[in-house]
Amino acid sequence: MKRGEVEKRPSYRVRSAEEASAFLSRATFGATEESIRELKRMGNYRRWIRREFKKKPSYHLEWILHHAKGVDGTEDLKDDPEGWQRYSDALGTMQRDAWWDIVVHRSDQLRQRVAFALSEILVISRNGPLLSFPDARLSYYDLLVRHAFDNFETLLRAVTYHPAMGKYLSYLGNAKANPRSDRHPDENYAREVMQLFTIGLYELNPDGTQKLRDGRPIPTYTQQDIREMARVFTGLSDDNGEFPAEAAFSDFHSRTSPMISFEEYHDRGEKRILHGRKIIPAGGDTVSDINTALHHLFMHPNVGPFLARRLIQRLVTSNPSPRYIAHVARAFNDNGEGVRGDLKAVIEAILLDEEALRERHDPKIFGKFREPLLYPAHLFRAFHAKNGIHTLRQGEEKVYRYRSFNFNGTGMMRQEGPLEALTVFNYFTPDDGPYALKKKGLVAPELELYGKQGIDDVIIGLVTENSYVYRLFHITAHLQLQREIALIARKRYRRLIDRLDLILTGSRLNPRTKQAALHYIKRHIRDKQMTHEKMARLVIGLIMTSPDYAFQR
């Protein structure tokens, strides 16, 4: 704010349908005609957010257990958790089905969108040691859904004790050092919980910029701290009554319930962390030591700006201003009632900041590239894709039946899927971007996922219900395009484009893009073999594969 300017009470009034649509692209899995209308009628962004906070969460594991019905004499999935191989394979397949159905159809949109964002910060993955344990992954995803509007410290604890994280970052079954051998406690979680989940590598100012000493960034911890922290995360194993568990991860319960402590394997000595400044006194047990360590991390001044930048990037813009980060970090530090770590306050600050709502700051760089997964999600939502009954086969046997798009997502392009990153560093890091942008001090993390085998292929295949793609993959995601087809039949081409522009981009299409689309329709609508329906599909495809759509503003 400039000197002399009076701080006005911010207005959360919904000023136009365009603005509402843009807001929904950040807060949901994509705007629809109905959701825009609803938000506009409600008239206030904060009211919308607060209503989302109250909605009942949709859980993914529950979805699967509820929907998968046995066929040919097999029991329903929920009745057969010990038919291990069949169960595990089925869950592995259905994980994506559940995800697509929930993000497209369920109403707890903000919660699901935030949970997805969190899944790219507090990363576990199908790739790696969790490959054959879909129940653990699903249970972990549900944890993110459950705590998406909770306190960050609660979330961090839940994550730390979850066996999926324990297995993924290898501290499940991590024992204290054995004085008779040279084994040391596993450092994996000790490092990543600091570097990637809470404080990052360098000390930050409240606005997210790095603190400098002698012109150099200041590390938040040393290798000595890692060694000490590794001793904290000893003594946990899954809840199967054994350490370190020949039998680890052997049943549904142990894979989905919080890990428990085995005190004889926990290092009870004193630990000094964070440059030795925080002391965890000797004599603590596993849980008290871990909770104390997590609390010290949670209280670290870096967490606010660290988390703010990551969540802003996932939802709103790749290059937030320091002022924007500081605003969100303040909300993290104090939700207005003296509570630190309230994710509701953080989410409100992110979505309601004037930089997001009113695009103040530098409009030239405001926004972010959409993640590949968000394209089909929006397509299915905006055009009310109908799913079909799908029969899951295992070999020749028909096993379970449930409603599904049967769309493997962009994962089939080896690109992006829920919980499918190649490493704990996610599909991209907050600092990623092509060299040309980095030189300008800008980042564009999602561009790591753009390129050949791109999302454009998938979108064209889906929107045109391309026979090859649909048949090969047995996709059942039938778009409902009556409105669009009717507009074409009535030759209301401009109206059609305006409508798509509003729903898909918040009316951010470049006028030249609109012109090109209009020109395309006029020129080809009378082509041989062209139909109104086909044209509707092509125009949607043209807009959704345009660079205007790729960049969410």
Binding site: H184, P219, P434, G451, Q453, T464, N466, S546, F551
Partner: protein
């Protein structure tokens, strides 16, 4: 057709194919400028294999003498590889049992080992590290920072472009059409190794070997065909000059991708297949074998590239080396088998003298185990392979696999050689002068060794 095969083919289709785009703006192949004459006229290539995640090389090459093995066994505990399974390369060391190909290559003098190399800012001993008076790389032991330092060829934090890009910029004038074909990336994602060069790398997958249109899958005319594709391309062309630098950058990137199949049109026609490249069941991301086969295929048609590049640098990215909770048995086997297959491919092409393979990794690993695996370390063994390598040797003194030995800081090896010395040895073979080496590796002069001597000159 095998369903998986079919699916793979589908996955290979490029955007261009999908949209039936006929790209008109061909790069000019006509401008024949003479490349900066390399020190000799022969062809040379480096193939960099990134062992992403930090390779536990200490469980790949293992001491086999009774006494030294006992120390290794005591230190590594459950993780130790059984002595009687080791494949000897000399009286002192052996590869682990599933690395028969690398044993064969070493004994055939095609493979060399570089002992204890890593990121350094200045020469430093473990004692000096402990005392803290010497400069060491920032954020040791973190995956991203350490991998980046290897890709940048500089651990001071002052360099942000890749050494591969800088080397290629020295080897070619930017007007040389061959420059655009001199850096090649076969990985799933862009690599920092080639970031910041005057030309972008050829970043490609098998898709570009036989640019197929999606027509045969129904993506072609029926989905709008050429006309649709033209509008699509037009929109990206327009946005190349968008005032939003993010959009402009993305649009330029897309246009380059759209042009790539055209740029490669015909170059890969009739390209040969090679035997022996396999896919491991435990591999994550793009398999090493398929990436190396692609390199071999590219090498087989190298003379068709515009400007006939005489120097090329390839980047291959192999995932899943971050073995906190497991042994690296599978990974080591894939590496060994893939190197064997690649070397045979080079022999078949009669290019073994001209192509050198090197390994890079985020870092070495802890000498001691954490139970089932190991943690992030620092110094590591590196492997170099090819006909121009003075193989069958270990370069540098093998470190003691002991905690707090004169080679280790606690249980992490302190590198005896800087990565700069390692890379300079290879880039010198590629034809860079001493002066150029200092430009490409800005911190090289901080280290006493400019050439480790493992390449024939």
């Amino acid at each position: 057709m095998h369903p998986n095969k079919k699916r793979r083919d589908f996955l290979k289709q490029s955007v261009t194919g999908a949209l039936g785009v006929a790209v008109s703006s061909l790069p000019s192949n006509a401008a024949e400028t003479t490349p900066r004459p390399p020190s000799d006229e022969g062809y040379k290539a480096l193939v960099c294999i990134l062992l992403e995640g930090g390779a536990d090389t200490f469980n790949m090459l293992i001491p086999r003498q009774k006494k030294s093995y006992r120390k290794y066994k005591q230190l590594r505990g459950e993780l130790a590889v059984a002595r009687d399974t080791l494949l000897p390369i000399d009286t002192e060391y052996g590869f682990r049992g599933n690395m028969g190909e690398m044993q064969r290559l070493y004994r055939g003098k095609k493979l060399a080992v570089v002992a204890n190399v890593g990121t350094l800012v200045e020469p430093v001993t473990p004692r000096e590290v402990r005392e803290g008076n010497k400069r060491i790389p920032f954020e040791l032991f973190a995956h991203n920072t350490q991998r980046n330092q290897w890709m940048f060829g500089d651990a001071t934090g002052n360099t942000h472009s890749g050494w591969g890009a800088r080397a290629a910029d020295r080897l070619y004038a930017s007007s040389d059409p061959a420059r655009s074909y001199s850096t090649v990336d076969t990985a799933d994602v862009n690599t920092l190794l080639f970031a910041g060069g005057r030309k972008d790398p050829l970043h490609f997958t098998e898709a570009n070997i036989s640019p197929d249109t999606m027509r045969r899958y129904g993506f072609g005319p029926e989905s709008g065909g050429g006309a649709f594709g033209k509008v699509y391309q037009h929109l990206y062309a327009l946005h190349q000059s968008d005032r939003n630098p993010l959009q402009a950058t993305m649009a330029r990137q897309r246009i380059r991708e759209l042009n790539l199949p055209i740029k490669l049109e015909g170059l890969f026609d009739g390209v040969r297949d090679f035997d022996g490249f396999t896919t491991g069941v435990h591999e994550v991301g793009k398999p090493l074998g398929s990436q190396l086969e692609l390199v071999a295929q590219t090498l087989s048609v190298k003379d068709r590239f515009p400007g006939r590049p005489r120097r090329q640098i390839f980047f291959v990215d192999h995932h899943n080396w971050d073995t906190h909770d497991s042994d690296n048995r599978h990974q080591a086997g894939y590496l060994s088998d893939s190197l064997g297959a690649f070397q045979r491919a080079m022999e078949a092409l009669e290019m073994e003298e001209e192509v050198t393979v090197l390994t890079l990794s985020d870092f070495g690993r802890s000498l001691t185990p954490n139970g089932a695996g190991t943690d992030h370390g620092w110094g590591t063994f590196a492997f170099v392979m090819g006909g121009a390598v003075k193989g069958g040797e270990i370069y540098g003194k093998m470190p003691r696999i002991e905690r707090n030995s004169p080679d280790a800081w606690y249980d992490r090896l302190v590198p005896a050689f800087a990565m700069e010395s390692y890379l300079a040895t290879l880039l010198s073979w590629m034809g860079l002068s001493e002066e150029e080496l200092d430009l490409v590796l800005p911190n090289l002069r901080s280290f006493p060794t400019r050439n480790l001597g493992f390449m024939r000159e």
